[in-house]
């Protein structure tokens, strides 16, 4: 089937089997390697992408479902200059160890901050509840997200 979508800000028109998992389409057909597979069942969040601004696990979505939609990954955020503050905060807070969960965490962070620029600690935890990290114990990731809050004057 022909898929028309906006991926990382660019209009794409490609032919793809509609039943191909979105994660495979993004990695294999689009060369977007930040989208990682950890479980293939929607349980780890390593494959999280933004679908029309909402964080979804791309291993549980089929490519046919993104026709007419907009997909954003960390590569896209980087391109439009929206990644810099997140990168800076993750580096400063030591929020990354092996880094395998990181792109997914960043996408969940972005989805949270888009909807809620001033999240509470509780809201931060809930925003990343679907993203498993085996290395950090989440503490430093939460600190990094906290630092990104719009500072109230």
């Amino acid at each position: 089937m022909e898929i028309n979508a906006v991926i990382n800000g660019e209009k794409v028109k490609v032919t793809c089997h509609p039943n191909k998992r979105l994660i495979d389409f993004l990695r294999e057909d689009m060369g977007i390697i930040s989208v990682k597979e950890g479980c293939g069942e929607g349980e780890c969040g390593a494959c999280t992408v933004l679908l029309d601004g909402k964080a979804v696990t791309s291993c549980t979505i089929l490519t046919g479902q993104i026709d007419g939609c907009e997909i954003m990954t960390v590569e896209g955020l980087d391109k439009i200059g929206e990644l810099e503050p997140i990168t800076e905060s993750f580096v400063r807070n030591g929020a990354v160890q092996c880094g395998y969960c990181t792109p997914g965490m960043v996408i969940s962070t972005k989805a949270l901050l888009n909807a809620n620029p001033n999240p509470t600690e509780e809201e931060i935890k809930i925003a990343i509840e679907g993203n498993l990290c085996r290395c950090t114990g989440y503490n430093k990731i939460e600190n990094a997200i906290k630092d990104l809050k719009v500072k109230e004057s």
């Binding site: 092996c98 880094g99 498993l132 430093k140």
Partner: protein, 756 residues
Amino acid sequence: MKTEFQYIGKRVERQDTADKVRGKTKYVGDMTRADMLYGKLLTSDKAHAKVTIDKTKAMMIKGVVAVFTNEDVPQTPYNSNQWFPGAATAEDEYVLHKIAKHVGDRIALVVGETPEAAEKGLNELVVFYDELPVVIGFEEAKKNETVIFGTSNLAFEKSLACGEISEGFDRADIIIEDSGSTPKVHHSAIENHSCLAEIDPFGNLVVWSPCQVVFQVQHIVAKALGIPYDKTRVIKTTIGGSFGGKGIPILEPVCAFAAIKLNRPVQIVMERKDSVAGTRSRNATIQKIRTGITKEGRIVAREIVSEFDGGAYLTNAAAVAMAFGKKAFRLYKIKDQKYTGRTYFTNTVPGGACRGYGSPQLHAVSEININNAAKAVGMDPVQFRILNAVDPQEFILGAKDDIGMPGIGNARIKDCLIQGSEAFDWENKKITVSSKNTNRFAYGIGVAAGVHGNGYHGGFPDYTNVDIQVMPDNRIMVKMGIHDLGCGTVLTMQQIAAEALSINPKSINVPQADTFTSPYDSAGTQASRVTFVNGGALKEAADLLKEKMITSYAKLFNCSVDAISMIDGTIGHEEGKKISYGELAILSEAKLETTLKIYLEYKSKGNPAVYAVSFAEVKVDKYTGLVEVIDLLAVQDAGQVINMTLAEGQVEGGAHMSVGMALSEEIKYDKQGNLKTENFSKYHLINAPSMPKVRTLFIQDGEPLGPYGAKSIGELAAVTPGPAVMNAINDALGTNISDYPATPERIIEALSRMRS
């Protein structure tokens, strides 16, 4: 007086983080090669069976290039756990297996032009399982009705002792007995196991692996395939977590075999269910502990018997039982003590290294027993531990512990207990905690101590080689066999060399292990040896390099060595010229015919103990059995922290694993050996909302043999939080739960048992 450091202890930022955030970092699964093939492993559906595979239909699938089974691969047995060629062990594994010994055992490899082709080929394999009787659990194993390997399912047995326990127990006023168990734990690195193998233009095999010991992978691959070691190049790639799970080669031999056979690059990436079922796990244990104490609360005797579920292959049957046992003699002063460890074969996932290697299991049950001992004499559990804990050992090179192992060194366990209980507000919480109780919720506090090591010295060869060189552009190149497992090992090494040479850590390149370019390292990144042993080696090499730089400068500028100083990448004499290290390197080559470079073979000189104490407060829902950890303080005797951010990261991440073992993580099988927890929907990792904030406290009193006083942190971090949580649960409920994990079902069951 404390030395002021320029880089040690500082929160230097990691240089690999930004690329990881941007998704630019390539893991093995992200690597591609022209002409690359994709391998998919067929793993066994049955726990014990003779396997016959009909490949005909699979081979007819378009894009399937080859199907390999046991009949196609060399019949040389190996033990994947053997990390150096001289390690004595029996060998019971093959590249692919004809008799599947556990669900998830590797029985065939399908290689395709695309992942889809390989997948289709896999689905078209016709597999006949001629089922054999299955051995699940200790009882079945002990019956020996079905023997998995050799003549008995008892794979290993050994005792360790000091003094004479019968005499010790005679002196005891009270004997406290406990039994308990710990489950098989899945490492749960978020990156699944993966590997890429190819042949380079010179005909060498190149294996790209997210591994912990490149020289082990080289050894196992060369041996299993009967190819020259010197033509087997293993390169450690970026790793998406390991925790011991990727320490033992699983995919490398079969991936290398396929690449050689087909003369094309082959990549294999496992799926989660195979990572759980077909790699390695923390060994499950059942334990019995007897502790004899006096009325005054002194421990006079202890006997520990622990049995280990070794799984289907020999792997670490001996190593885990010994690692567990040795630590029992290094935490408390116990004159008469005996330990017996036994490891059994079962038709389940084989055991392997898992963060803490035996320590998490030992302290899981023994620290509950210690609490019960304190209670029996009416003592506070912190005070009871302080009374019995070991004291720092005077620094003598070659010192030994009670069972002849290397001395425990500057053991600061008492500081951990004393400073930790203050920081946690233990005394106050002890009085007030139960006042929060309601009909439904019970609150409690718990403490647990633990000990771990610093490498293999005293047990196995523990040495490494370092090649360090000043480059013409004022940068430093360090070649050594290190593997960053995500913890920041590279940065740790950069900071150590930076401190010794006074140069920005960013100017130091420490490439990761590669058997063709890294000098030999005897044991890899495991056994908590890297900071202490590799870091110790690097410091010594850097100090020697500094000496060479100073003498070179003195020769070149004809001055005495005394007033030459090296600061921030510049070397100079009080009255003379200041030049960069790079300029000195250029001059040394041009005028002195020498390279500013040191090659050092460094043998570890000790294996001091490291200590940790955790304090936890929990809130238990008596209706649902759910536990919330509301406060957690982890105290570690770290000698000297090299990088505070990295150290905290280790302790916080270790707590995640340890609290998980206490509350929810468990690999489960049914009686037929079918895996019941093959994915994260059934194997429960703690997620962000359930993870407590981890408060950290480091005791930094310096370890004489460690680089700048440093000793290990990361593995020990996964030892004490779980038992502290368990003790807190028992404190809240008045129960004595000692089977891990304390799931809601177990808690409800313990409560109803108490009521009846």
